[in-house]
């Protein structure tokens, strides 16, 4: 495979080269010089080897056509994914299998069955992204490396055929070479001279823009994939009641476990009377939120903490968490995500004799941790037989609970007194108090305490810096490739005549202005534009 082609200028080119790297002479027949200039007619693997399976895979992924198709397929799929909400945006307590059909009809069902409800996490979408990544890598290697070699090897003196076939070309006589050189340098071209011929170039680095931005994209995609490795990424939610401490999920390590105390949750609304926003606020029903804030204190257990034992906590720091202002510690950050106001916390009851209205003591039930039995003294006591934190009648019309949140607490109490040592049962819930009708005693509602809750997202993301690096490199590459362009002007002495040719990879308008300036300032015949085949 180390076969090379030696050009008449003496330069030895890799097998597969179509334009000599040094002088630009076509090395094959039927080479269209101008369109080959896109990659300098260099020997690209994909254009040279087409036999084996590896060649075929390489050639498939190196094709820009394939790359563009991948982009278009991803684009269309992504667009379809926005027609109906993704699974993560539908209410948490519904079954997607029925939700899409009931909300959006047949189209919704089809959407669900084809897997568009979870498009961006689906295997085929990720496969497409992977293929695009592969295409970016292979297409860049296939073009970038030969292009680099060709541009590095290019000589000042170019072959006649190369010169003649450029889009901008002219022949002159009587030209002061020094004047041309001086003018080109004043346009900030880098000018080289060889045997009375000139080669001026400007902005070669812009040719690397495409490859730099592709490197950035690959780093970005790699960063995004690293999330799936354990330890790189934590995404959890933490609910804490006011005045309580909770262990922060994902923060356990040999150095201990973090705890967070919610000192206060603050919800502020805009004042409707505020003059500045008066007209906007009066046109909406309800209020507009101004601030969601949790005032918290961070604690950490001592180093040799054993799990299960009552933790000994040391205060680390206090802080305020608002939307847009996360609370950071170690590699973690806590974000204000949600809240719940006035959650039932403690409920109080009194034991009352129905006939007399006499009361025999009060009990307060912690709705998160109810006791089995409350002794009220003098032989009076109340037992909790059953507790339904979030009461509902189930399919069989039996009392049950939706979940463990005390949103609608209900109890089956057994009430004991010296008069009723056997106990009397009653079912008590919010605005419900049901017994057999023969009870002498009843439980009377005597007050409720509530607490606010805050919900914080617990996040650790070790992939962020990789993603950021990828983003920065991409931006550098894309700017360098699109805001600059590689302009080249060749001047060649040819049997008493002076030939001039010019080329750029983009912005012909800018190049034309340069060569106009050049022919204005010197005796050079203005370069004329050739109608190109690509139009």
């Amino acid at each position: 495979m180390m076969q090379t082609i030696t050009c008449e200028c003496g330069h030895s080119n890799p097998y597969g080269t179509s334009l000599c790297q040094a002088c630009g002479k076509p090395l094959k027949q039927d080479v269209e010089i101008l369109s080959s200039m896109r990659y300098e007619g260099s020997a690209r693997r994909s254009q040279t080897y087409k036999q084996t399976l590896v060649d075929k895979i390489w050639n498939f992924f190196s094709s820009v056509k394939v790359g563009v198709w991948l982009i278009v397929i991803i684009l269309v799929a992504a667009a379809i994914g926005t027609i109906f909400p993704q699974e993560t945006f539908i209410p948490p307590n519904v079954d997607p299998a029925t939700h899409y059909e009931s909300e959006y009809g047949t189209l919704g069902l089809i959407y669900y069955l084809l897997g568009f409800h979870n498009l961006y996490g689906s295997w085929w979408f990720i496969l497409l992204l992977g293929m695009l990544g592969l295409s970016i890598i292979i297409a860049s290697l296939d073009r970038g490396i030969p292009l680099y070699k060709a541009l590095k090897t290019q000589r000042v003196t170019r072959h006649d055929q190369f010169m003649k076939n450029q889009r901008l070309f002219s022949k002159s006589s009587d030209v002061e070479l020094d004047e041309i050189k001086y003018t080109l340098e004043s346009l900030r071209y880098k000018v080289r001279e060889e045997n009375g011929n000139l080669f001026a170039e400007k902005g070669r680095f812009s040719r690397w823009g495409a490859y730099v931005n592709h490197v950035g994209l690959i780093i970005f995609l790699t960063g995004a994939m690293l999330r799936f490795f354990p330890g790189m990424y934590v995404d959890d939610i933490l609910w804490v009641r006011e005045g309580e401490k909770a262990s922060i999920p994902g923060t356990s390590s040999e150095e201990g476990q973090y705890y967070l105390e919610n000192n206060d949750f603050i919800l502020e609304m805009y004042d409707k009377e505020e003059k500045k926003f008066n007209s906007a606020l009066s046109s909406v029903d309800g209020e507009v939120a101004k601030n969601y804030q949790s005032n918290v204190t961070l604690y950490k257990t001592k180093e040799n903490h054993t799990i299960g034992a009552e933790p000994e906590l040391e205060k680390v720091k206090s802080g305020e968490i608002r939307v847009n202002e996360p609370f950071k510690f170690d590699s973690f950050a806590l974000y204000q995500t949600d809240f719940k106001l006035n959650e039932f916390y403690k409920m109080s009851f009194e034991l009352e004799e129905k006939a007399t209205g006499n009361k025999f003591g009060k009990l307060t039930v912690d709705l998160h941790d109810p006791k089995k039995e409350y002794d009220l003294g003098d032989g009076y006591k109340v037992k909790i037989e059953e507790y339904f934190p979030n009461f509902v009648l189930n399919d069989q019309n039996q009392p049950s609970t939706v979940n463990n949140l005390p949103d609608n607490p209900a109890f089956v109490f057994s009430m004991y007194s010296p008069k009723t040592p056997e106990g009397e049962k009653a079912f008590v819930g919010i605005q419900k108090n049901i017994d057999s009708g023969e009870n002498q005693f009843k439980m009377t509602f005597a007050g409720i305490e509530t607490k606010d809750l805050t919900a914080l997202t617990v996040r650790k993301d070790h992939t962020l810096w990789i993603i950021a690096l990828g983003g920065i490199i991409f931006m550098i590459g894309v700017t360098q490739g699109l805001y600059w362009n590689y302009r080249r002007i060749w001047i060649k002495q040819n049997a008493g005549e002076v030939w001039a040719a010019a080329h750029t990879n983009k912005n012909w308008y800018g190049l034309k202005k340069d060569v106009e300036f050049l022919s204005d300032k010197t005796n050079l015949t203005p370069l004329e534009e050739k109608e190109t085949a690509s139009k």
Partner: protein, 394 residues
Amino acid sequence: MAEISSTLLYSAFIIYLFSTLFFAMSISDKKGKDAVHTKKWGKIGFISSCVGFAAQLGYFITRWMASGHAPVSNLFEFTTFFGMMMVLAFIILYIIYRTNGLGVFAMPIAVLVIAYASMFPRDISPLIPALQSDWLKIHVTTAALGEGILAISFVSGLIYLIRTVDQTVSSKKTLWLEIILYSLIAVVGFIFVSIGFKGVGYETTFEMMDDNNQAVKVVYDMPAIAGPSNGEQLDDSFGPLFRTPSWMNGVDASIKLNTFIWSLLAGAALYGLLRLILRKRIAAALQTKVKMKPDLLDEISYRAVAIGFPIFTLGALIFAMIWAQQAWSRFWGWDPKEVWALITFLFYAAFLHLRLSRGWHGEKSAWLCVLGFWIITFNLIAVNLVLVGLHSYA
């Protein structure tokens, strides 16, 4: 301060209209005095677009002072700013290429964008907690600038098509070109019907059941062609001709559909009127006026993409991701607005690859620029108004 601000915006709007007129004067064909005439009116057009831009910048600054936050926080403010960035992009490209013809199309389209913006509530609104960040101004302004520059590639591509599509025979191309022009006219239609029905104070009310089976009142400010998906009309006004399909369940979906239908109808009426007056396709009528070199138009539209793409990427994706990380704890969440920004990015990435590596110049490239602008406006309008997501705060 708020009054000064509105006055400045209004002035900018009028100056832009005049600027359009001046640019049109510059390309108007008067024998004998071509060069001088063109140069003179082109210069006046350019200066007036700069003055208009300065006035609008004044609106932006005074509104910022009045509200205490960058005025890019709701649909009116953002869309107005987008129009202003289109003008800025036009000014930049005019400085590079000195083409008066571009102004004839770019300025009225910017005017249309601003007029469209002012159909939304214009009150100075307070910022919800998610928007209270410096990234609001950084992300939104950069994204809008990128989109404004990309919009110029559309303008230039559109002129290219008007200039080059063969109008002697009726073809798919002439049809699509008319559809594009019709959609621009439909925006004018939208503005007419909005102002018209507001002017006469039209109102009709429906009572419908919402998702929670609560009876709610739905107030239309245009006669109801598309009624709500359920419920009854409470007055004897012009009744709905059909019900909005129930799967369209965004906020006030039926009102939006109804307004959309009215805009299309008004657009059709205007379009029909123009066809009657011109007695040929609108693009054919415009073709006789447009003398710009196709090569230059192609160059401008490509250059606009080359300048706009990195700015768009920076503003609409990178800054967006930084902010999303800070506000929502994740830099990417597949929210519809995010997805459509990605789609825009992918589209222009495909455009650049097709152009650089596969030689899609000229007409193909021009059609793509038109399609790209369609994606941008879809993201601007439909994603906020129709699709449900974190960005539907307008």
